[in-house]
C-alpha cells in the first residue's frame, strides 16, 4: 500500500471527509492504516448504519401503509417518508458511486505552479479553505440544531392521532400513540417504559444521522464549488500582471519590471513540461504535471531572434520565454479547473436530480399541509420546520452553483478588461482563445435536465407559493 500522504482537495477537505466517514457513509479510503482488520471493521460499521437506516425507514413506510385511511395522516406520513427517502437516496447513491467521488477528490493532487503567481495562488487557496471551514461549521450547527429542535418538539403537546370511533362511524376520537420523533410501526409496544426509552434513543440516532448523511454530502459538493470559484478568482487576478508582462516596453512600462527579478534568480526560465496526461483515469490524480525549475529550454525552437536578442515585441528572449510560461500556467490551470468542474458534475449530477424530484413532491404536499394551519401550535411548527429545512437544502446548493456560473462567465470580463491591446501578439491570441472558451459559463447540471442556479431555487419557491395560494383559495 502506498504511504498515506494527503494533498490537494483531500487535505483541504479532511474535516469533511472525517465527518462523512464518522456518519457511516461508505467512504473507505483516506485512512492512514488500511489493513484488512481495520478495513473490515469500518466496512462493518457502514453496513450496520445502512441496516439501521433501512430498518427504520421500513418501519416508517409500514406505518404509512397502515395509516392510509385518514387523509391528514396520509399526507403527513408521506411527507415524512419522502424526507427520509431523500436521506437514504443520498446514502445509497454515495455507496454506489463512490469511485467518482474519489476521482473528483483526487483531481487536484498535482496542480501546476509558477513562481510569479505563487503568492496569489496561496492567497486564494487560503481564502477557499477559510470559506470551506465556515460552510462546514454552519452545516454542523444547522444539522445539530434541526435534530435538537425535532427532539424537543416531540415533547410538546399531546401525542395523539385521530381515528374513527369504533362505536360511531361518523365521529373521530383521539387515540394515544407513542411519543416518538417519527411515527413508525414497531413489532413491540413502544408506549411507555423501557421499550419506549430505547425506541426514542434509536429514533434520535436515526434522525440525526439521516440529516447528517444528506447535509454532509451536500456540503462536500458545495466545498468543491467554493474551491473551483476561488481558483477562477485567482486566474482572473493574475490576468492583468500577465498582460503587463507581455506588454511592449516602449508603449507601456509595467511595474512588473521587478517581477523579472524572480526570487529564484539563479534558475533559468522555468517552463512547464509539455507532456500532460489529460485523460488519466488514475485515482492518484487526473492532472499531473511537473514544474521544472532549472528548466528545459525550448528556446531554440521559439523565435529566431536577431543577434541583438530583442524580439519583435521589444522583449528579450528571456522575457518572451517568461511570458510564454506564464500563459502556459494560466491555460493549464484553467483547463484543470474545467476538468474539476466536469468531474464534480459527473459525480453529483444524478444525486441532485433525485434530490429535486423528491423535494418537488414533498414541497407540493407541504404547501397543502400549510393550508391547514390554524394557529401557532405544534402542527404549524412542524410544517414550517419541514418547509424551511427543505427549502434551505435546495438553497444550499443552488447558491453555490450560481456562484460558479457567475465566476466562470466573469473570466471573459477579466480577460477583456486587462490591457490586452498592450500585449504581444501571442498574448492577444491567448486572450482571444480564452474568450471563446469562456463565452459559455461553466455550470453544474442535474443529469442534463436542469442547471443548478438561483433560477432553479426561485422556480421551486415560486411553485410552492403558487400551490399554497391556489389551495388556500380552494378551501
Amino acid at each position: 500500500m502506498m504511504k498515506f500522504k494527503v494533498s490537494g482537495l483531500v487535505a483541504d477537505l479532511m474535516p469533511n471527509i472525517r465527518l462523512i466517514q464518522g456518519s457511516g457513509h461508505f467512504m473507505l479510503n483516506y485512512h492512514a492504516d488500511n489493513s484488512g482488520a481495520l478495513h473490515t471493521l469500518r466496512l462493518g460499521y457502514c453496513c450496520v448504519t445502512l441496516v439501521f437506516m433501512l430498518l427504520q425507514y421500513g418501519c416508517n413506510f409500514v406505518n404509512l401503509v397502515l395509516e392510509r385511511g385518514d387523509v391528514n395522516d396520509l399526507a403527513a406520513n408521506t411527507i415524512t417518508v419522502l424526507f427520509f427517502t431523500h436521506c437514504i437516496t443520498k446514502f445509497v447513491y454515495f455507496a454506489v458511486r463512490s469511485k467518482l467521488f474519489y476521482r473528483t477528490l483526487g483531481i487536484w493532487n498535482q496542480p501546476n505552479s509558477h513562481p510569479l503567481f505563487v503568492e496569489s495562488n496561496n492567497r486564494y487557496h487560503a481564502l477557499a479553505l477559510k470559506k470551506m471551514r465556515r460552510l462546514l461549521y454552519i452545516i454542523i450547527v444547522w444539522t445539530s440544531f434541526s435534530a435538537i429542535a425535532w427532539t424537543s418538539i416531540t415533547f410538546v403537546g399531546e401525542s395523539v392521532h385521530t381515528t374513527k370511533d369504533p362505536e360511531n362511524e361518523n365521529l373521530t376520537i383521539s387515540e394515544p400513540i407513542p411519543r416518538l420523533l417519527v411515527r413508525a410501526w414497531y413489532p413491540w409496544n413502544a408506549m411507555s417504559g423501557m421499550p419506549h426509552m430505547l425506541t426514542l434513543i434509536f429514533q434520535v440516532y436515526y434522525v440525526f444521522f439521516a440529516l447528517a448523511h444528506a447535509n454532509l454530502l451536500d456540503s462536500l459538493f458545495c466545498s468543491w464549488l467554493i474551491f473551483a470559484c476561488e481558483q477562477l478568482q485567482h486566474l482572473k487576478e493574475i490576468m492583468k500582471p500577465l498582460m503587463e508582462l507581455s506588454a511592449t516596453l516602449d508603449t507601456y512600462v509595467p511595474k512588473s519590471a521587478d517581477l523579472f527579478r524572480a526570487p529564484s534568480a539563479t534558475s533559468q526560465d522555468n517552463l512547464i513540461e509539455n507532456d500532460y496526461n489529460s485523460k488519466n483515469e488514475d485515482l492518484k490524480g487526473v492532472y499531473s504535471t511537473r514544474q521544472e525549475l532549472g528548466g528545459h529550454f525550448r528556446g531554440a525552437a521559439l523565435q529566431n531572434f536577431g543577434a541583438g536578442g530583442v524580439g519583435p515585441n521589444g522583449l528579450t528572449k528571456k522575457q518572451e520565454l517568461m511570458v510564454r510560461s506564464a500563459i502556459k500556467y494560466w491555460v493549464e490551470r484553467h483547463k484543470h479547473v474545467v476538468r474539476l468542474v466536469t468531474a464534480i458534475g459527473d459525480a453529483y449530477g444524478v444525486a441532485l436530480l433525485l434530490h429535486m424530484l423528491t423535494s418537488t413532491i414533498m414541497l407540493t404536499l407541504l404547501a397543502y399541509q400549510a393550508t391547514k394551519i390554524t394557529g401557532v401550535d405544534k402542527y404549524a411548527a412542524t410544517v414550517i420546520g419541514y418547509l424551511l429545512f427543505a427549502l434551505a437544502q435546495v438553497f444550499h446548493f443552488c447558491i453555490f452553483g450560481n456562484r460558479l456560473i457567475e465566476e466562470s462567465s466573469s473570466v471573459m470580463e477579466a480577460a477583456y478588461s486587462c490591457h490586452w491591446y498592450d500585449g504581444s501578439e501571442e498574448a492577444k491570441t491567448f486572450v482571444q482563445i480564452v474568450c471563446q472558451q469562456c463565452q459559455k459559463a461553466m455550470s453544474i447540471s442535474g443529469a442534463k435536465f436542469f442547471t443548478i442556479s438561483l433560477d432553479l431555487f426561485a422556480s421551486v419557491l415560486g411553485a410552492v407559493v403558487t400551490y399554497f395560494m391556489v389551495l388556500v383559495q380552494l378551501k
Binding site: 500532460y276 485523460k279 525550448r298 510564454r324 482563445i433 471563446q436 472558451q437 463565452q439 459559455k440 442534463k448
Partner: protein
C-alpha cells in the same frame, strides 16, 4: 494516425438490423440492379404484403371512423390506431420516395472521416452500435408484448360483456358476431396490427439509429480535439514539420465537423415530415389512449394493454428527443474540447485555425423537424404537457355529456 488498421469498423451496423426488418415488411426495397428479376419479385412481394396487411386494414379503420362519427367513446376507440397508421403511411411514403437517397445516406456512414482513429473512439462507436441494436430489439419485443396483451384482453375481460368483442374496432363488410367470421376477423386484426406495429418500430428505430450516429460521431470528434497534440522534438527544422502535421490534424477535425453537419442536414431533410407528423399525432394518440384508459376499470387487461401502447408511443418519441438532446449537448462541448487541446505552444497558424473553429462551435448543432420542433428533451416535456391538457379537456367534455 497510426494503427488505423486495428480500428476497422463498419458504421452501417448502426442501422443494418433496422434495414433488414424494413426489407422484410416490404417497406423499403434492397439494392437490386435495375430491372433485375429480383427487383420485380420484391416489388410484387411488397405490393401484396403491404397491400394486404396494411392498406386494407387502414381502409377498414377509415370506414369505421366514418361510421362511428358523433359518438365520442367509439370515435376515440377507432381513432388512436387510425392515427398511428396514418403516420406510418407517411413514413412508408418517405422511404419509398427517397429510397435511393436513403441508401446513399447509409453507405455514406462508412466515409473515411467518420472512422475511429484510436482505441477510445473505437470503443465509443462500438458501444453505441451495441446500444442501437439493443434498443431496436427491445422495442420490437415491447411491441410484440403490447399486441399480445391486446389479443388476450378480450378473452380475459369478458365477464359482464355481451360476449367476446374484437380487440380493435374496424369495419368489415360482413358481420363479425358468429364464427367463423369472428375468428377470421380476429386473426386478421392481430396479424395486421402486429405486422404494422413491427414495421413502424423498425422505421422509427432506423431514424433514431441515424441520430445516434450523429451523437456518436460528435463524441469521436470531441475526443479527437482533446487529444490534439504537437509532438515534442528538439530539432528546429523538425518543429516546422510537426507544426504542419498538427495543423493538418486540426483541419481534419474541422472537416469532420462539416461532414457531421452535412450528415445531420441530410437526415433532417429526409425524415423531417415523418418526425413532425409523429410529434403532432403523438400528442393526439397519447391523449386518446389516456381517455380510453379512463373508460375501462383499472385492473382490467385492456387497461394494461392501453398503458403498454401508450408507453410504446411515448418511448418512440422519447428516443428521438433523447438522442437529439445528446447531439445538442455534445456539440456544446466542442468549444471546450478544442480549448483542452495543447494549443499554447503551437504555431500562430494553428491558433488562428483553432479560433475560427471555436467561433463556429459557439452555436450548437440542433436537429429540427420542419424547422420548428427541435429534437430535445424540452420538446418531449411539451408533448407530455399538451397530451395531458387535451386529455383533461376531453375528460371534462365527456363527463358533461354523461351528466
Amino acid at each position: 494516425m497510426s494503427g488505423s488498421a486495428n480500428f476497422e469498423l463498419d458504421l452501417r451496423e448502426f442501422v443494418t438490423l433496422n434495414i433488414k426488418c424494413i426489407h422484410f415488411f416490404g417497406y423499403f426495397s434492397p439494392e437490386f440492379a435495375e430491372n433485375s428479376k429480383k427487383r420485380i419479385l420484391f416489388r410484387i412481394y411488397a405490393t401484396v404484403f403491404v397491400g394486404f396487411a396494411f392498406v386494407l386494414s387502414l381502409l377498414s379503420q377509415i370506414a369505421n371512423m366514418i361510421d362511428a362519427f358523433g359518438d365520442m367513446e367509439k370515435m376515440t376507440e377507432a381513432s388512436f390506431l387510425l392515427f398511428t397508421n396514418i403516420v406510418q403511411c407517411l413514413k412508408l411514403y418517405c422511404f419509398m420516395k427517397y429510397g435511393a437517397r436513403v441508401w446513399r445516406l447509409v453507405h455514406s456512414l462508412n466515409r473515411k472521416i467518420f472512422k475511429p482513429r484510436n482505441a477510445t473512439q473505437y470503443d465509443v462507436l462500438k458501444r453505441d452500435i451495441g446500444r442501437s441494436k439493443i434498443i431496436t430489439k427491445l422495442f420490437l419485443l415491447a411491441c410484440t408484448i403490447t399486441y399480445a396483451s391486446w389479443c388476450v384482453s378480450p378473452f380475459l375481460d369478458k365477464k359482464g360483456e355481451n360476449g367476446v368483442r374484437l380487440p380493435l374496432s374496424g369495419w368489415y363488410p360482413f358481420s363479425t358476431k358468429e364464427t367463423p367470421a369472428f375468428e377470421l376477423a380476429y386473426a386478421y386484426q392481430i396479424f395486421t396490427t402486429w405486422v404494422g406495429g413491427l414495421g413502424d418500430i423498425s422505421m422509427d428505430t432506423f431514424m433514431s439509429g441515424a441520430i445516434m450516429v450523429i451523437s456518436a460521431e460528435l463524441s469521436v470528434l470531441n475526443n479527437a480535439l482533446e487529444t490534439l497534440k504537437q509532438r515534442f522534438v528538439d530539432d528546429p527544422q523538425k518543429i516546422r514539420e510537426e507544426e504542419k502535421l498538427v495543423n493538418k490534424e486540426l483541419v481534419r477535425c474541422v472537416i469532420h465537423y462539416k461532414n457531421i453537419i452535412g450528415f445531420a442536414n441530410e437526415v433532417t431533410y429526409l425524415f423531417t415530415d415523418c418526425i413532425t407528423a409523429q410529434f403532432l399525432v403523438g400528442v393526439i394518440i397519447v391523449c386518446m389512449s389516456m381517455f380510453q384508459m379512463s373508460l375501462v376499470p383499472v385492473m382490467s387487461f385492456r387497461f394494461f394493454a392501453m398503458m403498454l401502447y401508450q408507453i410504446c408511443v411515448l418511448m418512440e418519441m422519447f428516443l428521438w428527443c433523447y438522442y437529439g438532446n445528446e447531439v445538442i449537448l455534445k456539440s456544446d462541448l466542442l468549444t471546450q474540447s478544442a480549448y483542452m487541446c495543447e494549443w499554447v505552444d503551437n504555431s500562430k497558424e494553428f491558433k488562428q485555425n483553432l479560433l475560427y473553429f471555436m467561433t463556429r462551435t459557439q452555436f450548437n448543432l440542433q436537429l429540427y423537424a420542419s424547422g420548428y420542433f427541435a429534437l430535445s428533451l424540452q420538446t418531449f416535456k411539451a408533448i407530455i404537457k399538451s397530451s395531458w391538457s387535451y386529455f383533461a379537456v376531453l375528460n371534462q367534455v365527456h363527463d358533461q355529456k354523461m351528466a
